[in-house]
Symmetry: C2
Subunit: 602 residues, 2 copies
Amino acid sequence: MRLALAQLNALVGDLEGNAARILARCQEAAAAGADLVLTPELSLWGYPPRDLLLRPALLEAQRRSLEGLAAALPAGLALLVGVAEPLLGEGQPALHNAVALVAGGRWRVVARKRLLPSYDVFDERRYFRPGSEAAVLDIGGDGGRRWRLGLTICEDLWVEETPLGQPLGGCDPIADLQGQAIDLLVNLSASPFGQGKAALRRCLAGRAAGRLGVPAVYVNQVGGNDELVFDGGGFVVDAGGAVLLQQPWAMEDLALWEMPQPPAAGFKPLAATGHGDLQTLAPAGGPVPQQTPDGPSAPVAQPLAASLQPPAPQELLLRALVLGVADYARKCGFRGALLGLSGGIDSALVAVIACAALGAERVRAMRMPSPWSSAGSLSDAEALAQRLGMVCDTVPIAPLMAAFDTALSPALGEAPRDVTAENLQSRLRGTLLMAVANQQGQLLLSTGNKSELAVGYCTLYGDMNGGLAVIGDLYKSTVFQLCDWLDAPESAACRAALGLPAEGELIGEAIRRKPPSAELRPDQRDSDSLPDYAVLDPILRRLIEEMASPEDLVDAGSEPALVERIWTLLRRAEFKRRQAAPALKVSRRSFGTGWRMPIAAG
Amino acid sequence: MRLALAQLNALVGDLEGNAARILARCQEAAAAGADLVLTPELSLWGYPPRDLLLRPALLEAQRRSLEGLAAALPAGLALLVGVAEPLLGEGQPALHNAVALVAGGRWRVVARKRLLPSYDVFDERRYFRPGSEAAVLDIGGDGGRRWRLGLTICEDLWVEETPLGQPLGGCDPIADLQGQAIDLLVNLSASPFGQGKAALRRCLAGRAAGRLGVPAVYVNQVGGNDELVFDGGGFVVDAGGAVLLQQPWAMEDLALWEMPQPPAAGFKPLAATGHGDLQTLAPAGGPVPQQTPDGPSAPVAQPLAASLQPPAPQELLLRALVLGVADYARKCGFRGALLGLSGGIDSALVAVIACAALGAERVRAMRMPSPWSSAGSLSDAEALAQRLGMVCDTVPIAPLMAAFDTALSPALGEAPRDVTAENLQSRLRGTLLMAVANQQGQLLLSTGNKSELAVGYCTLYGDMNGGLAVIGDLYKSTVFQLCDWLDAPESAACRAALGLPAEGELIGEAIRRKPPSAELRPDQRDSDSLPDYAVLDPILRRLIEEMASPEDLVDAGSEPALVERIWTLLRRAEFKRRQAAPALKVSRRSFGTGWRMPIAAG
């Protein structure tokens, strides 16, 4: 039997459009001789559909889309598609996260997700009931032979993981497939990017394949949906954990895999597999451009080098961020992007990502010097813009500062001072950027990093402005590391693939090596207000991502006063984060929809 | 047996402080001869604790607080306190939403919540596992007699409700108490304010009491916690649904209720009750002021007239909003509040609420006229500020508009125009307000309404600025209605109780009757861009609160083009709402933590 793994980039909630894209891939797969097309979790909806799942009209649209797919599917082809199955008369929650088999002009639900993630960004128990039994699908392949597939949906495979330091409660969907004489384990996922996750997924699939003694096929969603970036990277592993097929990361793909003839039914040795035919079908004409009413077509990413090994972690991270920006802009219908370029490392990295995502000709930068801006920052920003090929405008803010001082002094009884004066500069810049973005129809990109968002070293309605916080989930230390890698020779191939200058330094040593400064007062340094990032970031990581307490950190050797100060800053900045732009999530725990903290708290 | 109903205002996550407040109330209750003190759901944590529940250090703090309570509780007194019960070794979620009995120097869990709301703002299946059995507590009262209490927690009582148009799935916690020979049903709640909810709670408790043939005691949390306002209003009903005791709304309270001697065990007629002694114990020295590091003490609200009937809906709504503002400011440690006063009805209503919440001497207003501001708006704003006794500053923005036009023209190739120019004015005002709020340590209150937030008729980083959106969950029509009521004689007693001028008009007819306008261009009217609010608001309510589709509305007789336009505006404004200030929730569905919609969606 020939399987087609469709690594799809859906537009959330666009049931009709997603069905059309799935159908197009089915036609390609049929032309290539496929018997069965596999698509990601909730592939008709795009993941996560969030509260769109509560709208009865969309469930009705789903029914129409399924019927349309059933009617139009090429003869002889079967399709597994991710659906939300309505439950009648059972009360809330009133859906299953399910998989439907479309074949022979009809469709029916064949699998229901059993482990429903409801931690971090996931809210599945808000919408879904767990499935109660293992799903086994008997399906005909070439030559009339029947195959038995064990079907699982995303988290069902993660039964051995401990996302919050504890195992998932509930059943073991893999164990429940044991003794069912399946030929193949299938997992249809919408698993967002995370550092180290590509290897973890393979490991989990390999363990499950080993437990069941059959190969495992893993199909993942790809694309950016608001703060989440799905990195694709589908694969097939054999029961020994060896990778038989690897799809690319951060781009759409359709791969074919010929399932090896199994031995006679009832005899299933552990090493029965590992000799399938490998074949990757490049999409006809490159990645399929997706239409949005006014937006540009999809950026044409270059295919990764064919390899069974994931690229370097920095490359995976960079590609996820690039995809996140490209898809947010495209799916929201923006013609281009705008960002403030300070001469510092954060905005430099965002500029690089934006140019890779949209093309430098669609990215515009603004320098907005104040009397406290250094000459170096101005020239560094200009040089970077030139290297990248971006237009860069310059709007000095001194006259605006003077006008606000004059306007505010009567009401304040004095001029704005201290933090007020610093915030004011940031807000003047944010207002300038929004004016340009509004008039020119651009997406304003926010350039703050996670360390700043954590301790509140950022200005609400100022430098936090933007539709998307591109590096809002990268600690400052990670920003430094990624920029060092970008400037090193080992990133040349990746830079070239992303359409960035591949020769010499990209960010530049001047930007990478200057001491971090907001330049909001004379000779200001981040280190005036904050510990060095090399000290701060590991403490933040423990507090945020590992839910450590200040006491835990002190017990582990950190200085009590320092920890207490950082902890207080972290808690007091909650009101800023509540109004922050969505930040592309790349860590285990980002300040987004998965960070649910009270503001007024003790 | 004498029960004390402690309607408490907790600070979320302040386990030690909340325990101290509970203990103080226990001491008062013991002095008044109480046998058992009842506190709200999760009373040690304050509701909703959100992701604070995931922090092991806080679970440890809870253990210490419980031990402290057990050691310090007055002899002979028992206490039911809301706790998060950790589960060992059972995987995620790893807690029960539980109730502990503290008595005789020890504590133990005696009830576990069975129905876990996970819709709208509620996320309980993220944190908790459902309890699996009915909770019955045998407890000694005066004279050595034993009493059997059926214990339920909040949603357990709502089993007959249909929050999303469907019944709650799962068990029936009331049915499971039938045949258990209980003497009394207890429900410990943290039920947020909603219009009509006071009557609904009584109805649900009455129905449950009737099913069980015993009285029901309902204890609710009170106080504002971020966007949620808990309105208290605890009560006792008999098995016939008659109200035996009613606690006040929107303030702390400790009420005593003497449980009537039941007939001999095993005989439980439907009308066994209805003759308990009623007694409300005014807290010693008025409402207990709660301490925050730098904040003011709690506003001293006047007790409501003793009555078994809820006040008028307008009064309940107003009191909820006032409590929400007062508590947000106090719990976040703000000294006072600031708002922009345009002369329009929205900011006028917010000014009234702020003055009632904090006292006019702690509220400051700013008028920020542009060349497009009408003389009437300026004088109306000034007259309102005088009526309320607020300081009102005036900062004209024309010079700032000119400075921005000059600064931006080179980069734009023209002056800011159209929506850009309008947004710019709004952002200049928002920046002025933030500068004053920063320098003077005030909470900036956002004055936008729900109709504007719905269709995006508001400016991100402009008039949306603020720590709290006071009327962000009130449609414009509701704003009009509430202001009409505030200016009518029937609100005089409420105004007086809230420390507002009780004589004559408060908002004033000039403000109430002028056509809504943002005054961002000459002779602008909201009706240039939007349908009349009398047309718009009912459509929005159907789309937002009832999840109707545009087709549903057209089927019900609305004009297709109008519905399509409103629907498109609603969907396109999602990016603004994602960055909006928390809005005090008063409707079934507000644009806050319970509104989880994708931004980039089809």
